[in-house]
């Protein structure tokens, strides 16, 4: 049977908790934040220059990819719902850079394009899925919200708010049962953090000491409702407290803060400590989906974040301060643009699925 749950009450180790509890104001992610429960630390990662360049390229790829997806959507080449990740790039880049591909597993919700790119999945077949083509990663049968790459340990891409947390708990159960040393990163949003099944899974994960990092990407808005309008406890890193799951709140606009914090989280989880909850404070620049005019916030609010906290600009400034020439970054930008343009061409030129595909993969065999 599972080990008994942690004995130490989480609250004991959280001097910041009392102060933060009654917070009702939505704090913008412009200032570095680092609050924890359960005694975890959130150090800033000390990256080499090569690592910084990698982070920069990764974030840029996600941004340019999403901009292109937005364009293709506008041109009618992408249908359905399409949720862009622009503004949140540091979260997935920092987190994914710390895990071990081939060993760990990843699952997320419908805002999933960035996660797939950060998992190293070919942008061409991701874009081709967005345009619903046969060469898409789900053969055009999944679409923007439902994409998978078992080869990359990426288990979706799920359209039901919060449901991926229960599935991720199952992936973590499999890691533990198999004793393969793997950890599941289960991503969800601030909106999903108000879904019931999330808490059933928190309880089960801590009870069974499962190797899972619950990752709340707090982009401040659950569709059109801000966190403090929708959440009785808007300090989401504390949402695991009654399950004795330690939490950490991290500046999700700073890739080094994200990387530093997740390393601590992974160390704890891999050490057999059971689940950890990370809240990454971030911001999405675009609407909830492409069809959202985002009237629930002011243009100034978005502009302010873009100017003061943009994760890519922040890293760019850091690189230049370290002596990287602007030309070098321009070359990188050009390379990324070409990758994205090639992906878009591929996605436009690939054929649509054969009609017979409609009845394959419903069952393993065919009806």
């Amino acid at each position: 049977m599972a080990k008994p749950p942690r004995k130490t009450p989480a609250a004991k180790k959280s001097p910041a908790a009392k102060k933060s509890a009654p917070a009702r104001k939505s704090s913008t992610p412009s200032k570095p934040v680092a609050k924890t429960t359960g005694g975890l630390k959130t150090p800033i990662y000390k990256a080499t220059k090569a690592e910084l360049m990698d982070f920069y390229e990764q974030m840029l790829l996600i941004r340019r990819f999403e901009e292109k997806a937005g364009q293709l959507y506008g041109l009618g080449l992408i249908g359905g719902f399409c949720h862009l990740y622009i503004g949140q790039e540091a979260v997935v880049t920092g987190l994914q850079s710390a895990i071990e591909p081939g060993k760990d597993s990843v699952i997320t919700g419908y805002r999933d394009h960035g996660h797939m790119l950060a998992c190293g999945i070919d942008p061409k077949i991701v874009m081709a899925e967005l345009t619903g083509r046969a060469s898409g990663i789900s053969k055009g049968k999944g679409g923007s919200m439902h994409m998978f790459s078992v080869d990359h340990g990426f288990y979706g891409g799920h359209g039901i708010v919060g449901a991926q947390v229960s599935l991720g708990t199952g992936l973590a159960f499999a890691h533990k049962y198999k004793e393969d040393g793997g950890v599941c990163l289960a991503y969800f949003g601030d909106g999903a953090s108000n879904q019931g099944q999330v808490y059933e899974s928190f309880n089960m994960a801590e009870l069974w000491q499962l190797p899972v990092v619950f990752v709340i990407e707090n982009n401040q808005y659950a569709m059109g409702t801000s966190v403090n309008r929708s959440s009785a406890e808007d300090q989401l890193y504390r949402r695991g407290e009654s399950f004795r799951i330690p939490g950490m709140q991290v500046d999700g606009m700073d890739v080094l803060a994200v990387r530093g914090a997740v390393e601590e989280a992974l160390k704890d989880v891999r050490g057999g400590g059971g689940p950890v909850l990370m809240e990454l404070k971030t911001y999405r620049y675009r609407g909830h989906s492409m069809s959202d005019p985002a009237k629930y916030r002011s243009r100034e609010e978005v502009q302010n974040i873009r100017e003061k906290s943009d994760p890519i600009e922040r890293l760019k400034a850091m690189l230049m301060k370290q002596g990287v020439a602007e030309d070098e970054l321009k070359i990188l930008d050009k390379k990324v643009r070409k990758t994205v343009a090639d992906a878009a061409d591929f996605a436009e030129e690939s054929p649509e699925p054969e009609l017979a595909e409609l009845y394959t993969d419903v069952l393993v065999e065919q009806y």
């Binding site: 049977m1 053969k139 359209g159 199952g170």
Partner: protein
């Protein structure tokens, strides 16, 4: 248990099927509320002894959290395990419908065939013992309506053994529906290697005048009605679907092509039920050959009531089957 009994109960058959599956394949794991021996081996004792034999790592009692149970089962199925999740009563499946309908049934399709979900959900239900509105519903039509799910219901212990084993070994998500009042019904014990393939109906009784089509708890009543109708000179053939989705259309149509009359029988409410689909298919394929329109027998279009008097009135009965046969044969 001493020697292999000549007869076993339905609940025992399910237990034996799980034990065999676990012995045959280390990827089979079981999770559900109170299922381990320390918690009683299941509310209806169907998992009794399994945790003792296979350990509590493989036979896991869970919190009362249906969404987390099915979610964890689907998640581990995606990476190759063959979880058997017990949802104690079928009404509680409603709580986990998101995981069943949106995830278990669709992940293979939406991933373009990259994933499989070799999951079995065992659940039990059935009226007749005063469990009332929230513990008795037959919801198989909801599940059969979802592409990507298989739905199975056995009518006797040997079939339960063979079908549950096949369900666990099947690479698709399967809902295996047991019948609460039927747990203690005895039947011939199956051989240990007895397997019943999914998607294949049986014809436990041959006849010439009318085909009674049913599954699970309706089959015993079909047999009783057939005995009674034989006294009136009516020869009934019985088709036991065993798998509700995808059902064995070939066997159904072959039988009805012979008898040229059919009545579909189930415990679930008659309206919008499995019977409607099967009746419609028979009409589409055999309309000009039928002696009469296909009849349907099901329970009343009301929640299952508590009081025994009205519960009996709600529930389909042997007499309803006889009446329907007389009605369509004129």
């Amino acid at each position: 248990m001493t020697d292999k009994p000549a007869e076993i109960m339905f609940a025992q058959a399910c237990n034996m099927a799980m034990a065999k599956a676990m012995a045959d394949d280390p990827k089979v794991i079981i999770m559900g509320e109170d299922i381990a021996d320390e918690q009683g081996g299941g509310v209806f004792k169907v998992t009794l002894g399994l945790s003792e034999k296979f350990g509590t790592d493989r036979v896991r009692s869970t919190p009362i959290s249906e969404q987390a149970i099915v979610g964890a089962a689907v998640g581990s199925a995606m990476v190759g395990y063959k979880p058997v999740a017990e949802i104690m009563l079928m009404n509680f499946i409603t709580v986990a419908m998101d995981q069943i309908v949106n995830h278990a049934a669709k992940l293979r399709f939406m991933s373009g065939g990259q994933t499989t979900v070799p999951l079995t959900i065992r659940t039990t239900t059935g009226a007749g013992t005063g469990l009332g509105g929230q513990h008795s519903d037959m919801l198989e039509a909801w599940l059969a309506h979802v592409p990507g799910l298989k739905v199975v219901a056995a009518s006797n212990p040997a079939d339960a053994y063979g079908l549950l084993y096949s369900s666990i070994m099947d690479p698709n998500p399967v809902i295996f529906i047991e019948n609460t009042p039927g747990y203690f019904v005895k039947g011939p014990a199956p051989a240990p290697d007895h397997v019943v393939p999914l998607g294949k109906a049986s014809v436990p009784r041959e006849g010439t005048d009318v085909t009674l089509i049913g599954y699970g708890s309706s089959i015993s009543r079909c047999h009783a009605a057939a005995d009674k109708l034989a006294e009136d000179g009516i020869s009934c053939e019985i088709v036991d679907l065993r798998t509700i989705a995808p059902y064995d259309e070939e066997t159904v149509l072959k039988s009805v092509a012979k008898t040229k009359a059919a009545v579909v029988v189930h415990e679930a409410v008659r309206n919008f039920g499995v019977g409607a689909e099967i009746s419609s298919r028979i009409h589409e394929e055999l309309f000009s050959e039928l002696k009469a329109p296909v009849g349907r027998v099901g329970s009343g279009y009301a929640p299952v009531p508590f009081s025994p008097a009205i519960e009996k009135a709600w529930m389909f009965s042997q007499e309803d089957i006889e009446r329907e046969v007389h009605k369509i044969l004129g």
